[in-house]
């Protein structure tokens, strides 16, 4: 399949499709949806980081004004959900594993009544020792957070046991030999802090069951298909019984990719037979959703006197929190990125992910890459300083180029790293940095770093339908969380069919009608779904040409699409037909309505076994690589410690 080049629609700067509704306050986010006869829900969270649930006393709460239903772990079966390790119930069952973990949920006539009643639920707990750091979790005799870990279903061959959720290792070359060849070796420990996503829109969901028992679920999410999978797994429902939709989404940054309150809201809608809505408060959003992993990193990098990098070892210890969520993926991906975009022949990256009694950590922009890049790039600067080399020159000297594969052996289909370094160096006028006069009490600093990131993993699809009048509906199932994918995918479809953008409408993601899309995550939608759109549009073009060839009595090979929704014979301007004529023929006389679809899954192996050793890697096919370089100039206030980025 060929890529589309810049044309009438691609390469044009256009306002996003939904701009008018967003600037007029008409955009409907999950909290803006109301259904007739709708109930509101509230959650009771655990006061303890680690405790056994002895019993519930719901009597006072059930008698509170407006209360229609209360659910607890006793109402759930043994079903569990999880992207990599199925270790999590819809509500705590038997045990609580972090402060704030949902223990019970109430549906009542108003939000205030639901919140009032939730406080009347009495739960008897037996406290257990709280594990609040990875070191504590790994200590001999530590309390075990998931006693049944061995029996949980895992989607990859996880190396786990005790409080170890996953161990992963990736290695190339001969590390011992590498160290012997080094003239300079730097070593260090790095720690990064946890971080909350704080999408301005808190998480929320609204579910409604129809009289036949089928459920419709609207929620703030990054993938209606992950919502469907998680809810159905955790509640033991067939996926065909749940339809997932999405309103506008007020930011995600990874937080809304895996589930938040959707399973709870569905369970309440089933318990009451009425629509139920739950919108988290900002505090609850902090307490019960997920955050970025704090990393503990030990890194060692060595080079020859001339600046050639030779060896690197990186060991990471990840606090995964109470549930695995996306953590095994974050661990594996961080190790894959820990070498950096450099030629280093001898590398070993390994790490341990452990359960603790804290909020789960999960996907957050960069997925473990920022943490290890911080360590790795710092060490490159340290080596440059030891050798008296320019930090850009040492990067340029060691940058991946030509046919160099990625760490682990995956072939790079394209590599723009050197162009990125050139561009950032030029734009920053590097190395002019020493010329700036320091202001008393302030210091200036300049930094340069390179990075790479993946895109393109997992499955996606697109359906392009030609309507009776020759206009088009595009349906991909990709959720636009504000990054603009609805607009970009419409541009791609319009370009492929030579239609103006306003002749292409984009359908909202719907698990009943949209083709599968793994999700809006990993910078993947334009790359993967865009290709699916091109494929689906090509199928529409093929069918249009087949009709046109019959009508115009020519070969399909002599036909071309013309701008504005027409098909004609090449070199014969007057021989042409509008899409409307073709579509009418297809709808009413011959062939049937024109529908093009295309689906694909990224299938290039991450690891070449002839080149690298991998243990416990959770993704056999990670995606394509992209590259970046960045120069920044900062000012540091010696009194307050405040850092201001002057230029980046």
């Amino acid at each position: 399949m060929s890529a589309l080049r810049e044309g009438a629609e691609i390469g044009r700067s256009v306002p996003r499709l939904e701009i008018q509704e967003k600037v007029t306050g008409r955009a409907a986010y999950i909290a803006d949806l109301y259904r007739p006869n709708m109930l509101h829900a509230a959650i009771l969270g655990s006061p303890y980081p680690h405790a056994r649930i002895r019993s519930y006393d719901l009597s006072a709460a059930l008698q509170a004004p407006g209360v229609q239903a209360i659910i607890t772990g006793d109402d759930l079966g043994d079903d569990r959900m999880g992207a990599f390790i199925k270790d999590e119930h819809a509500l705590a069952k038997g045990k609580v594993r972090y402060v704030g973990e949902p223990v019970a949920a109430v549906a009542a006539e108003t939000e205030a009544e639901a919140r009032f009643a939730a406080r009347l639920i009495k739960v008897e707990y037996q406290e257990l020792p709280a594990i609040l750091s990875p070191e504590q979790a790994l200590a001999p005799g530590a309390a075990i957070i998931h006693e049944d870990l061995d029996s949980y279903f895992k989607v990859f061959p996880a190396i786990c046991g005790g409080n170890v959720c996953s161990k992963t290792e990736l290695a190339e070359g001969d590390l011992e030999r590498g160290w012997r060849e080094c003239d300079v070796v730097v070593e260090g420990e790095f720690e990064t802090a946890p971080q909350a996503h704080v999408a301005i829109e808190p998480c929320g969901a609204l579910a409604e069951m129809d009289p036949a028992g089928r459920i419709t679920l609207w929620s703030a999410n990054q993938s209606v298909f992950r919502v469907q999978a998680n809810v159905c797994e955790s509640l033991g429902l067939p996926m065909s019984r749940l339809r997932c939709l999405t309103p506008r989404v007020g930011g995600g940054f990874g937080n809304k990719m895996e589930p938040h309150v959707q399973p709870i809201v569905v369970k309440l809608a089933m318990a009451t037979g009425r629509p139920v809505k739950l919108i988290l408060t900002r505090e609850e959003d902090f307490e019960i959703v997920r955050a970025r992993h704090p990393f503990k990193i030990r890194a060692r990098t060595g080079a020859k006197r001339n600046g050639t990098l030779v060896a690197r070892e990186v060991e990471v210890l990840l606090d995964g929190g109470a549930y695995a969520d996306d953590s095994p993926g974050v661990l594996g991906y961080s190790l894959l990125m820990a070498r950096g975009p450099y030629r280093i022949p001898h590398v070993r990256c390994h790490g341990t992910l452990v359960y603790t009694n804290k909020l789960r950590f999960g996907a957050f922009r960069g997925f473990g890459n920022p943490q290890v890049s911080f360590a790795g790039e710092t060490q490159i600067d340290e080596i440059a300083a030891r050798l008296g080399m320019d930090p850009v020159e040492i990067r340029r000297k060691n940058a991946l180029r030509g046919d160099d594969p990625w760490f682990g052996g995956q072939k790079l289909l394209s590599n723009g790293l050197m162009e990125c370094i050139d561009t950032a160096q030029r734009a920053s006028a590097w190395p002019r940095r020493k010329e700036r006069q320091p202001i008393p009490g302030k210091r200036h600093g300049t930094g340069f770093a390179c990075t790479a990131h993946i895109s393109g993993l997992l499955g996606t699809g697109a359906i392009v339908r030609l309507l009776e009048d020759g206009t088009v509906v595009l349906n991909t199932g990709a959720v636009d969380i504000g990054q603009g994918s609805d607009t970009v995918l419409t541009q791609i479809c319009a370009e492929a069919l030579k239609l103006p953008m306003d002749r292409v409408s984009v359908a909202s993601p719907d698990t009943d009608g949209s083709p599968y899309n793994w999700g809006t995550t990993a910078s993947r939608v334009t790359y993967t779904t865009g290709r699916a759109v091109i494929g689906a549009a090509a199928e529409v073009e093929r069918q249009i040409k087949a009709h046109a060839a019959e009508i115009l009595e020519c070969s399909e090979l002599d036909l071309e699409l013309r701008s504005g929704g027409r098909v004609g014979i090449m070199g014969v301007p007057e021989k042409e037909l509008p899409f409307a004529a073709i579509s009418a023929r297809a709808h009413w006389r011959k062939g049937g309505p024109i529908i093009g679809s295309h689906a694909w899954v990224f299938d290039q192996p991450t690891v070449d076994p002839k080149r690298a050793v991998a243990h416990g890697l959770p993704f056999p096919q990670i995606g394509v690589y992209s590259f970046g370089a960045l120069a920044v100039e900062i000012e540091f206030d010696e009194t307050t410690g405040k850092i201001e980025v002057l230029r980046a």
Binding site: S13, P15, R16, E18, I19, Q20, E21, K22, V23, T24, G25, R26, A27, A28, Y29, A31, D32, Y34, E111, H197, V198, A199, I200, E201, P202, R248, V249, G250, G251, F253, I279, T281, R282, I481, G482, Q483, G484
Partner: protein, 155 residues
Amino acid sequence: MTPAALTLRINGKTRTVLAALDDTLLTTLRDALQLTGAKRGCNQGVCGACTVLIDSRPARACLSLTHTCASRDITTIDGPYANIAQLQKAFAETGAVQCGFCTPGMILSAAALLAEKPQPSVEDIRTGLSGNLCRCSGYRKIIEAVQLAAEAGPQ
């Protein structure tokens, strides 16, 4: 608390609503009047997503009690309100909107700023919008949008 009826003047129209004494203006706008343009972000006066104008001054609807707003002039993004049209156009043209959740509050804070300072400096804009958070990190384009609206002249 027992709800009591009161009359509010919202976007130039008189509306009678029932509100408890501890209901916030945000709750009344959204749940009672279904004017959902003002957003509930933090619900504690930090993020600015609920910003409305009360007597032409920007205010947190989540920290304003409905009963204290009786007889005041309330403006929300749900409009129509001629004074924000230029800003809406500028936000659209400069691409100052990503997820859009902060946008209504941003536009109303900017409207109050331009009413006070029709030709604001970048520093004025930063100060005027300092109570409105954008997590998609679109601040630069938001500043450009306010500058463009200011250049376009009186609202």
